[in-house]
């Protein structure tokens, strides 16, 4: 292994110190490798269960077949409409959440006064803590109904509903991670720009955002991952008809995603049947989609970096002259705008599209004419508006949960065991079970995640290995939660013989939140200026001392943000624990990690889907879950604020 051979021994006076460094580096290396091993395990598992379908009916037939009817006579397994559905719903979600999230992140970190900032930020984090089952029910009862009435359609369950819901669910990730990236841009950059006479908006758009680009891209990738992998909510609102929208731009057509298919069919399909293998084939395809999205994002990021930091540009021999390059670019732009225009005409008819295009042209011309000050005012207005929209959405969802859940809430509800299949009695064991599950998952994932991130940023140079690790981590991030659940069931519960147990659930949840923790920790480590490391090393500190005393403390706020997002996700997910850890009800609390537990999201899921007449307790459970997550957040946010105050730049 290369790190053993590296000789930096002459820095250290004593051998003990030297071995300690080696040991620490080894440990960090192992935790980074652990992430990879898990990823390969999951890929291997998916492949093992999924490849028979490609052999049976052929990869191309599977990918391009338009009909998905696995229980028909004869059955047909064509995944094309599902793949298209996933892409359409996710891109719709991104069109909604990227501008809103990006705008709010700028508002929170650069424009809002400190007090308002912390309020908005906590609000956004509450959004992250709302369990996906609750989003799903909100979507089913409020959103689809609103769409149906507003647009006068026979049903509101459609592509648009899925995109809106996933957009909302991806918002907290995008806002929190990009806000952290923006606010960790060194103060000097800002001061330098302002002192050169730039307006605040010019500083934000030309200096701060470009320097935070890496973090913002990470935020968007994490957001896409969240949207692509979401199972429980999306399958409740998209209608799940496996058809291709007609025309393709018809946002009111029902649509079916890959995750939706996995979510609704996986629990009932016979183990080892063709249908079963086909579902795993779908999971593999989803994995591939996430990898491709991630690669595209990395290419874009590389290009942007080159543009804004010419110093990084490698000297390349120019293949084409500047003029031809310009021509190629111009024709690509022309092609893109023509396609867009065509789409507009198809969707709205000629008159309206002419109107839209002329409005866009007017806006463009005006933006060229107006002064820097006016454009700042306009930009701030837009940014503030996006924040208001986000808070408005949060308000509606919170109102919905509280208005419906408050009636069920009482001391008995919190302290007693469930009776009458959950219709009466309380949810005490489910509260404890959720705390156990989330606590255990964080305890497992945090050390491994932080270790892996430290290894990636501090101990290696960017190279093939880090690229592989990073790609794997991002693929893991987009893996649907139900696949984690099945992996946990096949590997932990059956193969390792842990049984349906608390421990199996904790490990499964830990694997699911690992990518978020690694990615956010990495970003916050990167944001610590290089000069601080150099200063520490120059004073004679060892590498580990530098990392522990100089790099980690100012990176803590970012790490805690990652942890907060993870707590929210772990507490609210149903699919990963459904097969591995939970029971619907039990009389005794678990006495060892090898016993199963009750959990709030699963309890909620069963009450809403399978127990008629339990609506009130279902809403109550949702409210308690939300309150519990908020309590955990408040503790984490308090710790973060303290670290933030200590940051010295």
């Amino acid at each position: 292994m290369p790190f053993l051979i590296e000789s930096f021994s002459f820095f250290y006076s004593s051998k003990r110190k030297y071995f300690k460094e080696i040991f620490i580096k080894g440990t960090l290396f192992v935790s980074a490798i652990f992430a990879i091993v898990v990823i390969f395990f999951i890929i291997f598992f998916l492949f093992k269960e999924g490849h028979p379908i490609f052999e049976n009916i052929g990869l191309w037939n599977f990918l391009s077949g338009k009909e998905w009817n696995p229980t028909g006579d004869p059955p047909s397994y064509g995944a094309f409409s599902l793949i298209l559905g996933t892409l359409l719903v996710t891109s719709g979600a991104m069109i909604i959440s990227v501008p809103l999230g990006f705008g709010s992140a700028i508002f929170i970190s650069e424009i809002a006064p400190p007090k308002i900032r912390s309020i908005i930020k906590s609000g956004v984090e509450i959004l992250a803590g709302i369990p996906s089952v609750v989003y799903g029910f909100f979507g089913l009862t409020v959103l689809t109904d609103w769409l149906r009435v507003t647009f006068d359609k026979p049903s509101g369950e459609c592509w648009l509903a899925g995109s809106i819901l996933l957009g909302i669910m991806a918002l907290p990730t995008i806002i929190s991670v990009s806000e952290d990236a923006i606010s960790s841009v060194p103060m000097e950059y800002k001061e330098a720009s302002l002192s050169l006479g730039a307006t605040k908006w010019q500083t934000i758009s030309k200096v701060i955002v470009p320097s935070a680009l890496s973090g913002i891209t990470a935020a968007i990738i994490l957001g896409i991952g969240r949207a692509i992998g979401e199972t429980m909510a999306v399958m409740m609102v998209t209608g799940n008809a496996a058809i291709i929208p007609k025309p393709i731009t018809n946002v009111f057509s029902p649509i079916r995603t890959i995750t939706g298919t996995l979510g609704i069919e996986m629990g009932e399909v016979a183990y080892g049947s063709t249908h079963y293998h086909a579902l795993f084939g779908l999971a593999l395809i989803l994995f591939a989609i996430v990898l491709i999205v991630n690669m595209i994002a990395n290419v874009i990021l590389g290009k942007l970096k080159e543009k804004h930091m010419p110093a990084l540009k490698k000297k390349k021999r120019k293949m084409l002259s500047q003029k031809t390059m310009w021509r190629v670019k111009r024709s690509i732009y022309a092609l893109c705008s023509l396609t867009l225009m065509w789409l507009l005409v198809v969707q709205f008819g000629i008159e309206i599209s002419v109107l839209i295009i002329s409005i866009i042209l007017c806006c463009y011309l005006i933006s060229k004419k107006i002064s820097a000050k006016t454009s700042q005012r306009v930009a701030f207005g837009i940014v503030a508006l996006s924040t208001i929209i986000v808070l408005f959405i949060l308000g509606i969802i919170l109102y919905y949960i509280i208005a419906n859940g408050a009636r069920a809430l009482s001391w008995e509800f919190l302290s007693q065991y469930p009776l009458d299949s959950g219709r009466a009695g309380g949810i005490y064991p489910a509260i404890i079970g959720t705390l156990y599950l989330v606590g255990g998952a964080i305890l497992i994932a945090l050390p491994i995640g932080i270790g892996a991130a430290i290894y990636l940023t501090e101990y290696t140079k960017e190279g093939l290995l880090t690229k592989i690790i990073r790609t794997g981590i991002e693929a893991l991030n987009g893996t649907p939660s139900i696949v984690f659940g099945l992996f946990g069931f096949a590997f932990l519960v059956l193969y390792l013989n842990l049984g349906v147990s608390l421990l199996a659930g904790q490990i499964t949840l830990a694997l699911m939140i690992l990518p978020t923790i690694i990615r956010t920790t990495e970003e916050s480590l990167k944001s610590v200026p290089q000069s601080m490391r150099e200063a520490s090393l120059a004073l004679g500190a060892t590498k580990w001392q530098t990392v522990r005393k100089v790099v980690l403390p100012p990176a803590m706020p970012g790490i805690i943000t990652g942890t907060i997002l993870s707590i929210g996700r772990a507490a609210g997910e149903t699919a990963p624990i459904m097969f591995t850890a939970v029971v619907f009800s039990q009389r005794f609390l678990p006495t060892s990690p090898l016993e199963p537990v009750m959990a709030l999201p699963y309890h909620l899921f069963v009450l809403t889907t399978s127990v008629p007449g339990a609506e009130q307790n279902a809403y109550g459970t949702a409210l308690v879950l939300l309150l519990l997550v908020i309590c955990l957040y408040i503790i984490a946010i308090m710790i973060r604020n303290h670290y933030r105050k200590m940051r010295k730049w």
């Binding site: 509101g156 629990g267 009932e268 299949s421």
Partner: protein, 284 residues
């Protein structure tokens, strides 16, 4: 720039640890009162779950030293769990598939109840009865407008169950007679979700287990040879209502000891009364 923990941070850290301890202590205090206990684990179909849960509650009241834990996951998870030995009883809302029979040859399914399937529409829909042919026509795409089956001039919103659902399989075999479903049908993965959608969509039609029918939806009567049959437990029992399927508890080999005792309880008069209370159809 060396940062040390200041007093406030320490306070918060201590506070955090204390909170953790309190949580663990409350949790532990609940577990101390355990004597010698027998446990039964039941996993599988969420359709059968309410029956298993209610009968387990009644059984545990009589036998305080028995702990029965019930959880869902779906029929296939139930069959796999009991086959692999991590559950004592599996619950299924469908028959065993060939793959499962060859993999786990010792599984023994026991019919514990029947589930009548009601065709439901929005309460404002004036249609009160349909023939089986009309229902098939709606679900295979022959009829797309309510006026074709005696209703208003509105497009029909067809709600189907997911393709792995036991309810759908039964519906497909007995109502559709293995005809393909219309591709534009919306698919839902639970009885609860079907009912919710139908109750808020004026032109929808769906099918759910009898236990789910309440005021928010209207169950249509089935017209057969001139008579209209209402979907009720009674009509399923006397054979008049045509759409009902079996629900199973599955054991690995013949049930023994406490597991046998529990299944006998479910099949007893008292157990079957609970089945009926939960909106399912008893087997005798």
């Amino acid at each position: 720039m060396v940062i040390k923990m200041d007093a406030k941070t320490k306070k918060i850290a201590v506070f955090g640890v204390m909170m953790g301890l309190v949580v663990i202590a409350t949790a532990l205090s609940g577990c101390l009162k355990s004597g010698e206990k027998h446990t039964i684990t039941i996993r599988g179909s969420t359709t059968v779950l309410p029956i298993a849960q209610k009968t387990a509650e009644a059984y545990m009241d009589k036998h305080p030293n028995v702990d029965i834990s019930v959880s869902g996951g779906g029929s296939s998870v139930g069959i796999q769990s009991v086959g692999e030995g991590i559950a004592d009883i599996g619950m299924a809302s469908r028959d065993l598939k060939d793959e499962e029979k060859t993999r786990y040859p010792n599984l023994k399914p026991i019919v514990i109840a029947k589930d009548g399937i009601a065709i439901i529409v929005h309460p404002d829909n004036p249609v009160t009865n349909l023939t089986l042919e009309q229902i098939r026509g709606i679900y295979n795409g022959t009829y797309t407008n309510w006026k074709e089956v005696g209703g208003p001039d509105k497009e029909i919103v067809v709600i189907n169950r997911d393709s792995a659902s036991g309810t759908r399989e039964f519906f497909w075999e007995h109502v559709m007679q293995k005809d393909d479903f219309v591709a534009t049908a919306l698919e839902k993965n639970s009885n609860g979700a079907v009912k919710q959608t139908v109750s808020q969509t004026p032109n929808a039609i769906g099918y759910v287990g009898l236990g789910y029918v309440d005021k928010s939806v209207k169950a249509v009567k089935i017209k057969k040879e001139g008579t209209e049959v209402e979907p009720t437990v009674e009509n399923v029992l006397n054979g008049k209502y045509p759409i009902a399927r079996s629900l199973y508890m599955i054991t690995n080999g013949e049930p023994k000891g406490i597991v046998k005792d529990f299944i006998d309880f479910v099949l007893s008069e008292e157990g079957q009364r609970i089945v009926e209370e939960e909106g399912f159809v008893p087997i005798s």
